[in-house]
């Protein structure tokens, strides 16, 4: 069979604007080549900055922002689309090649009905009449499992949920009957339990319409479910390219091997201990508009152990951290540190009480003052809590930097001069500087690339082993939970639905929600999605 898409030695550049300096030309993609046959799916995978989205958009001869395609060819059915002029390329976009963006919420025009936007490309390109296009959109809404497909198109984007929008965007891409669709991280912004439905819908739609696809993601487990081939990218270079089976089961390159195995860290569960460091008893909490976010939450974290609090967006897990720190005083219940009940508001707590509980944030970027150096950031708690100054302070900061495996060469750097992983490490050093008993970790790894995240998790575990720190670790990612937890609390709609030692929480019998959550997490093996869907069909047939 002939190749539908042939990308040959693709080079992509952009202009960078470093503040206060003249613009510089940089290269984002350094000569990447691949081919895609009709009806097949190629997964493009890599960390942020790998150039995967840029390559995806190049399949539509499009460069986002100041991005320019500087060399190579993109052949669609033998024709180099990079050489086409404006009208020629407009004839291809939206009719033969379509695009599904990461954030459908932003990609839909808020001023028009979903249906009008879904049929627009097909109607404007003349591939379908208005009526036929609406007919097809209703069919596609059905295939994609959207509620009430006949009237779904009459709604406005803000009237439907995020998962539904993502599926509507897929329908929009499928409507003109394209030969190729570029999926750009279509499920990344979604919760796992929503992701699995969207993933299943996309897979079914691709199968039914025999469209070829480029599927771009940073999640190898996801791409393993939908692709025939996978290309691994890093810093704009191809690392490895081959059939999905080979990449997942017999990777050739070290980098790919690391990507495949990164989720397999497992912490040995510690034995049960009675002396709780933090104890939360029957806590209710509400925001000022009386919207109640926590209902009767009771958990505790033992000394030297990790409690993982897991849940999806809106489950109240971050609110729990705010209650513990005293940013949001609970309306009922109490927070106890060791044996003393903490005042509900942080402003009423003593310096000593504040010192004992430190916090790690998801965005290390915004957690550090960009106008302070590492010395100031890590040194301030030393001065504030222990009165260290001058030489003594510098010595201690250097010591802390050693502890987080960074070395004292970083002491005079500003946060902007650090990588994402280094920033989070400096935040850890700042927390350690206070010599706390407990660190609250609010998704500290979820904004990081998987390999960097794994490094942070290992560091946290090493520090725990050395100093008997207790962690309350908030996350939405089950793999992270497996990696670090001794005990787990599963949160759903503001309640703790399951709490206990890791082995117990992760073994059956499950409650409904935990069951759904665990089964929705993509596993790094081929055919996982089909299995889950088959089980679901069996269950629903059995009812």
């Amino acid at each position: 069979m002939a190749d539908l898409l042939e990308v040959r030695d693709l080079k992509i550049g952009a202009t960078a604007y470093p503040p206060g300096e003249p613009p510089q030309d940089i290269t984002i993609v350094h000569g990447v080549s691949f081919t895609l046959r009709k009806g097949r799916v190629l997964g493009l995978i890599g960390e942020s900055g790998a150039g995967k989205s840029t390559i995806g958009l190049a399949a539509l001869a499009y460069g986002r922002g100041g991005v320019r395609i500087t060399g190579g060819e993109v052949r669609l059915d033998g024709e180099n689309i990079l050489a086409l002029g404006g009208p020629g390329i407009r004839g291809i976009r939206g009719s033969r090649v379509c695009y599904v963006a990461q954030s459908a919420a932003a990609a839909f025009n808020p001023a028009h009905r979903l249906g009008d936007q879904v049929v627009e490309a097909a109607v404007r390109h003349g591939s379908l009449t208005r009526q036929a296009a609406w007919e097809r959109s209703r069919y596609l809404f059905g295939v994609l499992g959207l509620p009430d497909p006949d009237s779904f198109g009459r709604r406005y984007p803000h009237q439907v949920s995020g998962g539904q929008l993502q599926r509507a965007m897929t329908a929009m891409a499928l409507c003109p009957g394209p030969e190729l669709i570029v999926f750009d991280e279509p499920t990344t912004a979604l919760d796992v339990t929503t992701q699995i439905d969207v993933l299943a819908a996309i897979k079914r739609a691709i199968d039914e319409t025999h469209t070829a696809a480029l599927y771009i993601t940073h999640d190898l487990a996801v791409v393993a479910q939908v692709s025939d081939d996978i290309m691994v990218l890093r810093h704009g270079h191809m690392v490895e390219y081959g059939p999905v089976q080979q990449i997942i089961e017999a990777p050739q390159e070290d980098y790919t091997r690391e990507l495949v195995s990164v989720r397999q860290i497992q912490k040995q569960e510690a034995g049960q201990q009675s002396d709780a460091r933090i104890r939360i008893d029957g806590v209710d909490a509400a925001y000022s508009n009386h919207f109640k976010v926590l209902h009767d939450v009771s958990v505790h974290v033992p000394r030297g152990q990790t409690l993982a609090v897991v849940g999806e967006s809106g489950s109240g897990k971050s609110t729990l951290a705010r209650v513990i720190t005293g940013l949001l005083p609970p309306s009922k219940g109490a927070v106890t540190f060791k044996d003393e009940t903490l005042p509900p508001k942080f402003a009423d707590r003593s310096k000593e009480q504040l010192r004992q509980i430190q916090m790690l944030y998801q965005m290390a970027d915004t957690a550090m003052n960009p106008r302070q150096t590492v010395r100031d950031i890590v040194g301030r708690p030393l001065t504030f809590y222990f009165g260290l100054r001058g030489q003594e302070k510098t010595r201690r900061v250097a010591e802390l930097l050693e502890q987080i495996e960074m070395g004292k060469g970083f002491i005079d750097r500003y946060p902007a001069e650090l990588s994402g992983g280094q920033k989070q490490r400096v935040c850890i050093a700042r927390a350690l500087a206070a010599e706390p008993e407990v660190i609250l970790c609010d998704e500290p790894t979820s904004a990081l690339d998987p390999l960097v995240a794994a490094g942070i998790l290992k560091l946290l575990m090493r520090l725990q082993a050395e100093t008997q720190l207790s962690y309350l670790f908030i996350t939405h990612d089950i793999a992270t939970v497996r990696a670090i937890a001794d005990s787990i609390a599963v949160m759903y709609q503001g309640r703790v639905v399951r709490f206990g030692p890791k082995s117990q929480v992760l073994s059956p019998p499950f409650d409904d929600y935990t069951d759904l959550l665990l089964k929705s997490v993509p596993e790094m093996r081929i055919g996982w999605l089909e299995e889950v869907l088959a089980t679901r069909r069996m269950v629903s047939a059995g009812h």
């Binding site: 503040p19 206060g20 300096e21 003249p22 720190t325 005293g326 940013l327 942080f346 707590r349 310096k351 504040l354 010192r355 916090m359 944030y361 965005m363 915004t366 957690a367 550090m368 003052n369 960009p370 106008r371 302070q372 301030r380 708690p381 504030f384 700042r430 206070a434």
Partner: protein, 275 residues
């Protein structure tokens, strides 16, 4: 920062500003004649002993202009500095303390801003005696409402950042949070705003003087010189246009520099319009 990255427009602006400030600082030494010295006939043309001609009373226009720079720039600068001290202090307090303090200050500010600046100034100046410090205070209060709006927006943006939360949870006091955490991050938008406010103060002061409500004669200031010489226009004498051009030139120079500053800092909030 590299000097080569500074665009020509910014250089032009800085050169113009430097010239104006030089005139203001050394007026008595560089002005060829005295501020109030009648040197010749009225409205003498340009050239000869009087580079820019003479004004409606026969005073040397160039000397008036140089002395005018001193008055205009110092009054506008004083008003702007005062406006910033008030606006930044109040807005940061509002953003950091929050609650009723913020509500109260913000509502009063909204009320002040719902009356156009010039109209507000006219009403107040209709009642108050015509004295220099009152003029400075009036301009400063009106300007401070705009500074308050921007300062509060910038400070609120920064207060919700996690490093401020981290400082609060550490137990830091309000002083530390305002001066060590928020202010250093608000400096560049505030600096740009300072430029815009200064340009606006120059225009505003000149407008008031032009209307006869600002600096009182015989002291020279640019708006006042326009007023003195406006009757010459009907006879085709362009003396009134020269101080007008000086005002416009100074404002343009400030805007050029601010425009460059704004392009360098992406995090600026708030509009640049004025009412």
């Amino acid at each position: 920062m590299r000097w080569r990255a500074v665009p020509i427009s910014a250089w032009v602006g800085m050169a113009g500003l430097a010239l104006a400030i030089f005139c203001a600082l050394f007026a008595p030494w560089i002005a060829p004649f005295g501020e109030r010295e009648v040197v010749g006939d009225i409205w003498l043309p340009m050239g000869g002993d009087y580079l820019l001609g003479t004004d409606n009373l026969g005073r040397d226009l160039l000397s008036r202009l140089i002395y005018g720079a001193q008055t205009t720039i110092s009054v506008a600068l004083a008003a702007t500095v005062l406006a910033f001290c008030m606006g930044v202090f109040l807005s940061f307090t509002a953003a950091v303390v929050g609650g009723w303090t913020d509500q109260g200050l913000s509502r009063v500010n909204d009320l002040m801003m719902s009356i156009p600046t010039l109209i507000f100034a006219l009403i107040v100046l209709a009642v108050l005696p015509q004295e220099l410090w009152i003029l400075v205070a009036v301009i400063a209060v009106l300007e401070s409402t705009r500074v308050f709006r921007l300062g509060r927006a910038v400070a609120l943006d920064i207060t919700v950042m996690e490093f401020v939360e981290a400082a609060r949870l550490r137990g830091e006091g309000r002083q530390w949070i305002i001066f060590r955490e928020i202010l250093p991050n608000a400096l560049s938008p505030l600096l740009a705003e300072f430029g815009l406010r200064f340009a606006f103060a120059v225009l505003f002061l000149s407008t008031l003087s032009f209307l006869g409500l600002g600096i009182q004669p015989p002291e020279a200031d640019w708006g006042g010189i326009v007023k003195d010489n406006k009757d010459g226009i009907i006879f085709g004498i362009p003396a009134a246009l020269i101080p007008g051009a000086a005002i416009a030139g100074l404002a343009i120079c400030v805007n050029l520099v601010v425009d460059w500053l704004l392009n360098r800092t992406s995090s600026l909030k708030g509009g640049r319009g004025d009412g």
